[in-house]
């Protein structure tokens, strides 16, 4: 029986092989020799690229599934997302996997790039592989942004608005770019259709083409050998040395591919677990631009930019928005041309290690700032966050009156008391120690001089209200501390 089956399999297999000729075309590619070191334990450094590609395929599979139900029309997209979440069997799960796998793809591409950078794998003869990789990173971020827009909710709507406002600052051509980007004079149906085409056809097409080119380069120029300190790259001798090295190498189809497969499978399991436990993202608020109280935030891959835009000085802002990202991309593209020879081991390249540490820390800090966004007024704090009772426990009637004025004039949207409230202005829990009565009145009336952080309230605070509010603010002092006084002032009243 077994024999017959084997014979049948051989005959059928042979029939196809006689026509497809895979043994002479595909097998040599799968079995191309890689350096022995890359097939050994150090090969675990090489698994991030294939994991990125695995997640790309997972995105394509789940994306096609979602496209069967999702309606890319501004008036029904939101409902179709709710339908996916609540009525379509496993709809929420597919949306969830698509979101988490997309996030995972951004993470994996960045990790892969960091590894390649630290190991100097971009040096001769793999400069073009790196350039393709940079383009793949940009396309992956493009997928993240356009995908966020397809989740047609308030964040999506205002995310496009912010993108358009940034593009609108391009000298001369700005308004034209805005119209091309949003597909007309306003954000709406044509915008969503446009981003759907970008997310589903244009960017994935480019991604697949560039992944093909990236892999082609990996195969033709070979996988880089693990870096060894003291063995610098010299373009004149590298090819011959590499040729010798792979003679002692191992076929890719073997230990290396097993590592790739195992790591990719683990990554997929983690993604699916996150998707099952945390669930899909959104849709959030309705895509109705007249709903005030919207609090738009970009998805996490762009929080660092959100933070950067808030923290950059006004004079530099347009530069930070338009030129800075371009400069970053050009720097990345230039990496293999600035150093395409020399040491590869991170232990011999302190500058490369420093770049990764400083760059990574900067991105992490900006992302954290973007997440907490202390610069944003808390629009509901004036009515939602009451004055802490401890603060007004021993207040006089006038000070109590002032506390009410302080609350009513929306001061809490920017000023916290005992840590609760907006963080845009300073916490005022002990302002009475820092500012005198006169200084407080000046600050409230005129705001920060030169159009700084605080608006001038002069016209909208009546004298009686000002009296009460300042009395309240002067009373905000830790126990036993005297009120602030100016340098020349003596203690007598």
């Amino acid at each position: 029986m077994k024999r017959i089956l084997k014979a049948v399999a051989n005959t059928v297999g042979g029939w196809f092989e006689a026509r497809l000729r895979l043994k002479e075309s595909v097998m040599p590619i799968l079995e191309h020799p890689i350096p022995a070191g890359a097939a050994g334990p150090k090969g675990w450094w090489y698994v991030f690229g294939s994991a990125s590609m695995t997640l790309l395929f997972l995105q394509i599979a789940t994306g096609i599934g979602l496209a069967l139900v999702y309606v890319p029309s501004a008036d029904q997209a939101y409902q179709s997302l709710e339908y996916l979440n609540y009525r379509q069997p496993f709809g929420w799960f597919l949306r969830s996997i698509h979101y988490w796998s997309g996030s995972g793809m951004v993470v994996m591409v960045v990790v892969h790039m960091t590894q390649v950078f630290l190991h100097g794998s971009y040096k001769y003869p793999r400069e073009l592989t790196w350039i393709f990789g940079v383009c793949l990173l940009l396309l992956t971020l493009g997928m993240a942004f356009t995908g966020q827009v397809l989740r047609w909710d308030a964040d999506a709507y205002w995310g496009v608005g912010v993108g358009a406002s940034m593009a609108g600052r391009v000298p001369v051509a700005g308004p034209g770019i805005v119209e091309l980007l949003i597909g007309g004079p306003t954000i709406g149906a044509s915008t969503l259709s446009r981003f759907f085409a970008l997310h589903v056809f244009i960017i994935p097409g480019l991604l697949l083409a560039l992944v093909g080119g990236h892999l082609w380069l990996v195969i033709t120029r070979g996988i880089s050998e693990p870096p060894v300190p003291g063995q610098p790259v010299d373009p004149k001798t590298y090819d011959a040395k590499y040729h010798e090295e792979v003679k002692k190498g191992k076929p890719f189809l073997g230990d290396a591919m097993t590592k790739d497969a195992l790591f990719s499978s683990l990554v997929v399991l983690v993604i699916v677990a996150l998707a099952a436990i945390i669930g899909p993202k959104g849709p959030g608020g309705l895509p109705d631009p007249t709903l005030t109280g919207a609090n738009p935030r970009p998805d996490w891959p762009f929080l660092w930019l959100f933070g950067l835009l808030s923290l950059s000085p006004a004079g530099l802002e347009t530069f930070v928005m338009l030129a800075f990202p371009a400069v970053l991309v050009v720097c990345l593209l230039l990496v293999p041309f600035v150093s395409n020879r020399g040491e590869r081991a991170p232990s011999r390249r302190p500058v490369a290690v420093l770049v990764v540490l400083v760059g990574g820390t900067t991105l992490a800090v900006l992302t954290y700032e973007g997440m907490t966004s202390p610069w944003s007024p808390q629009m509901g704090a004036w009515s939602g966050d009451t004055i802490p009772t401890a603060v007004v426990k021993r207040s006089t009637p006038l000070e109590l009156q002032g506390a009410a004025v302080f609350q009513n004039k929306n001061c809490r949207n920017c000023h916290a008391l005992e840590g609760i409230g907006g963080k845009r202005g300073p916490d005022l829990s002990s302002v009475g120690v820092r500012l005198t009565r006169d200084q407080l009145i000046d600050q409230i009336n005129n705001g920060t001089p030169g159009g700084g952080n605080m608006p001038a309230y002069g016209k909208h605070v009546r004298p009686a209200e000002m009296d009460a509010m300042v009395a309240f603010l002067v009373s905000l002092r830790p126990e036993g501390q005297p009120p602030a006084k100016t340098a020349g002032q003596t203690t007598k009243k």
Binding site: P175, A189, P289, T290, G293, A294, W375, S376, A456
Partner: protein, 205 residues
């Protein structure tokens, strides 16, 4: 390396002499270019179609004398459907204007402040706080005074003013495009035309 070079056929033409083959190449090139242009021109025209004429539309908000709609010296958010939209826009076709009735001026003419909700910094929606007479933006903390002037934060200018008029006792607001720094509602950009399509600045009948 060791492959012997194929001997030239005896009747090979000299390079200067035009042949049927080179004529064929020229014809293929010409027909190919014509085919590329035949497809390319409409495709480029289609893509550039987003940049098109914006007809001017006026949206009636309400009777100027209606004190419930326009109380004097109070700023109210008025919501309307933007005529510059498609049928399938859904809620995204809604747009808002902060309108403040300033009462009659010296000539007995009703005066209004009409502001877009779009923050001049990066386009987020501002909220009006009557208690402190400020507009605040939730994104990066832009703040504006009641007259629309920038009060604090990152906006490089005040709120975008929306053109308005009174026609037969009704306050009308001009249908807004998405305002950006170089393409405001009062002074739309000429660049949008790109010299291809003249924007229709006349009124729609």
């Amino acid at each position: 390396m060791s492959e012997p070079t194929a001997p030239k056929p005896a009747d090979a033409p000299t390079p200067e002499e035009p042949t049927r083959r080179s004529a064929m190449l020229w014809i293929t090139g010409g027909v190919g270019a014509a085919a590329a242009a035949a497809v390319g021109v409409p495709v480029v025209g289609f893509l550039a179609g987003a940049v098109r004429a914006r007809p001017i539309d006026w949206v009636p908000i309400g009777k100027v004398t209606d004190a419930a709609l326009f109380p004097v010296n109070e700023t109210r958010l008025h919501i309307f459907r933007n005529p510059i939209h498609e049928e399938w826009d859904g809620d995204s076709a809604k747009t808002g204007a902060y309108i403040r009735n300033l009462g009659k001026d010296d000539k007995g003419q009703e005066q209004f402040w009409v502001f877009s909700m779009i923050c001049a910094h990066l386009g987020c929606p501002v909220t009006w706080f009557p208690q402190s007479a400020l507009f605040m933006c939730p994104c990066h903390g832009g703040v504006y005074y009641e007259n629309g002037d920038r009060a604090s934060g990152p906006p490089p200018r005040g709120l975008y003013k929306m053109p308005w008029r009174i026609k037969e006792g009704v306050l009308e607001v001009q249908a807004p495009h998405l305002p950006t720094l170089q393409d405001t509602l009062e002074k739309p950009s000429d660049v949008v035309q790109l010299g291809i399509i003249k924007r229709d600045r006349g009124e729609r009948a």
